[in-house]
């Protein structure tokens, strides 16, 4: 799995590419958390558009980042257009607490509109 990260204002934008499972979540978690805390950020956008596989380990990873963002009164959102990823996100109930958008701009605008 490839992870690319970008910091825009107080947003950490994380783009996942490939397969997110138990094996790949370990490394992703460390990388995301160190960037988030070292740069003292509050908001996070998880871009899952280039994921072609995700299981419940990915759900655990997102739930953990959700908690971290809430602790800092920040916001977290998901960008995704993949139906199989959406299926497991929906099944887990995550989409009841995290907004999903189809692109990064919408995710940032969505937060501003609130």
């Amino acid at each position: 799995m490839r992870l690319s990260t970008n910091i825009v204002k107080d947003y950490l934008i994380v783009a996942f590419e490939g397969e997110l499972d138990h094996h790949t979540t370990e490394e992703a978690r460390m990388k995301i958390d160190s960037l988030y805390y070292d740069n003292n950020l509050s908001n996070m956008i998880l871009d899952l558009r280039k994921l072609n596989f995700m299981d419940s380990s990915g759900i655990g990873l997102i739930m953990g980042r959700y908690r971290n963002c809430k602790e800092r009164q920040g916001d977290i959102s998901i960008v995704n257009t993949n139906p199989s990823v959406e299926r497991i996100l929906r099944m887990s109930g995550l989409l009841k607490i995290i907004n999903m958008y189809s692109n990064i701009e919408e995710a940032i605008d969505g937060k501003r509109g609130e």
């Binding site: 138990h22 094996h23 596989f53 299981d55 419940s56 380990s57 759900i59 739930m63 953990g64 139906p83």
Partner: protein, 140 residues
Amino acid sequence: MRLEILSKSTNESFARVVVAAFASQLDPTIEELSDIKTAVSEAVTNAIIHGYEYNEGIVIIESTIEGNRIEIVVEDKGKGIDDIKKAMEPFYTSKPDLERSGMGFTVMETFMDELIVESQLGNGTRVKMAKVFHSLVDKE
């Protein structure tokens, strides 16, 4: 089909790709194939994290096809599950410190048509799952 793998997390993707390749002879839809890969991934991950608790062991994956139905068995010889009913509850995890979602069995139940979990403390766990491919039924 029978596959034995070491209980290493790098083997999770290998296991689901092998089962998906085996299942592809049934000409599944993309969604059906994705369901199978996800369910296998959950079962193998459970064996590694909970069955063997990251110690070295062998995970056995067996799969058979009969008509339009695939059966997949994922077995470990690890520590076993004390309370299967509790383990299968959505969001329950015995390892909250590892940021596990507790959704593994729920995913297997949702994405497959049948799920049977057998376990004995100290002797391991056997997860039997089955799915009927409707893509094939619809074509006939």
